[in-house]
Amino acid sequence: MNKFSLADVNLWYNDFQALKNITMDIPANMITAFIGPSGCGKSTLIKSLNRMNDLVEGCKITGNIMLDGEIIYGNIDVNLLRKRVGMVFQKPNPFPMTIYDNIAYGPRTHGIKSKFKLNEIVEKSLRDAAIWDETKDRLKKSALSLSGGQQQRLCIARALSVQPDVLLMDEPTSALDPISTSKIEELVIKLKKDYTIVIVTHNMQQAARISDNTGFFLLGELIEYGGTGQIFSVPGEKRTEDYITGRFG
């Protein structure tokens, strides 16, 4: 089943065309990786999926993006869309408040006030993001006291707290050390049971290790898209092969 269906998506930042005729389906409960050199549009595309691009001035988008068959650039509540399609950013960005309040912020935003319910959500989210054991005794401490890797898992927990369907991850491990990275990769694989995951990565091994499908982007175009095993072993395009084998990028 497809979570997202994109048809002829074009996107401009003022005069610069960042995405060109992107047509692809993103299947549910799988990990889809976007790879490609810097400036190829992969981050732009992932940000189009929850309309974070709306915040960028001069950004114009045409074509069609559907989530569960519903057009997301039509007349819908953007806040509800972002609740359904959570996001984890490149650099860990916990809010300058306690660990507990970081997680409770999302549910509170969507109207949950009961202390009991919030406690439950905080614990479940932290458990799901595999950081409960490290934080359960310091929930009232500032989130900024955590290490970089812990902060990123906290951000994943925060994204999970509003019970999204989809988790968008924009290079979530690029600012982390190898041990933290492998923890997050394990986590992502575990999460795909319940969530659809789209991950942008600069790390080819990472895409090969964790993703089910891979899309290769170059200069705003989707060059090749298919099963990860196939893309990495028998790429159909010369450019894909050159990139994967490290000849450019």
Binding site: N50, M52, L55, E57, N79, L80, L81, R82, K83, G86, M87, F89, K91, N93, P94, F95, P96, M97, Y105, G106, T109, H110, C155, R158, A159, S161, V162
Partner: protein, 282 residues
């Protein structure tokens, strides 16, 4: 740095030592000037502080500064009540809502910067004519407070703008990414993060109000008596000091007033930073 370290440095690199010595001289100069002023005011003032200076009524005998102290606190409270909400909300609009770099924002910015550069006597004259004469408020707490609130508005706007801009966009993205709207993002994430900077601006503004004389004398007047209501005249500590020093008959009381003024400023600053800490902790 220990003295031994200094000598070690001297042996290694002469230029390092010279720069190091220069920074220390500069720090020493700054601190000693400050210490000199504070010391001078306190030493000359404290010995004249006596209970009768705090008598409720000012008389020629007691030279009480109490009415002026009350006037100062009233003006500070009233001016802040007027300008902090307006300044903070304007800054929020400029940074969070207005289109970045738009013509309107640029015009507002140039205007506030110009306002910040106008000498206070001009504000005094304006306040006297507009609030005092045109609106008919005369020399009063209202005229004074409105006038100084216009004076500190640019200061509060600028410091608030700067501290809002200093809040990383990553916080905003994180909040929007969870489905929070603009209002919630600004109110729950951006404003708390910017609060220490905003309070620093408010402290500066308080300092400016307390130190103001020209605009105050033009609008509040300089009558040494307890104001009966908001449309009554009065004086502030600075204006009181100016009057005492000007008359030349009570230099001791003028010094005492200066000492009290200094202590009031220190107390207000301590209070503000305590509030800032409390807000940060909650």
């Amino acid at each position: 740095m220990k003295i031994a370290g200094l000598f070690k440095m001297k042996r290694r690199k002469p230029l390092d030592f010279v720069l190091f010595a220069l920074t220390w001289i500069c720090i020493g100069l700054t601190v000693s000037v400050l210490a000199l002023v504070v010391g001078y005011v306190l030493i000359n003032g404290v010995m004249y502080i006596r209970p009768s200076l705090f008598a409720f009524q000012y008389t020629v005998e007691n030279q009480s500064l109490f009415p002026a102290l009350v006037g100062t606190l009233m003006i500070v409270a009233m001016a802040l009540t007027l300008s902090v909400p307006i300044g903070v909300f304007s800054a929020i609009y400029l940074v969070e809502y207005a289109k970045r770099g738009s013509r309107f924002v640029r015009i507002v910015r140039v205007t506030t910067e110009t306002l910040a550069g106008i000498p206070s006597i001009v504000y005094g004259l304006f306040g006297f004519i507009f609030f005092g004469v045109v609106l008919g408020w005369g020399l009063s707490l209202m005229s004074g407070a409105f006038t100084v609130s216009i004076m500190i508005l640019p200061l509060i706007m600028r410091t608030t703008e700067e501290s809002l801009k200093a809040v990383p966009d990553a916080f905003r993205e994180g909040s929007f990414g969870l489905g929070a709207g603009k209002l919630r993002t600004v109110g729950r994430i951006v404003l708390p993060a910017a609060m220490p900077g905003i309070l620093a601006g408010v402290i500066l503004a308080i300092g400016r109000i307390i130190g103001e004389t020209a605009a105050i004398i033009f609008t509040l007047g300089n009558v040494a008596r307890m104001p009966n209501n908001l449309f009554d005249t009065g004086r502030t500590l600075s204006a009181h000091m100016y009057a005492l020093a000007n008359e030349g008959t009570h230099p001791g009381e003028a010094h005492a007033t200066a000492a009290v003024l200094l202590i009031v400023v220190i107390l207000i600053n301590a209070l503000s930073s305590r509030i800032a800490r409390l807000i940060k902790a909650s």
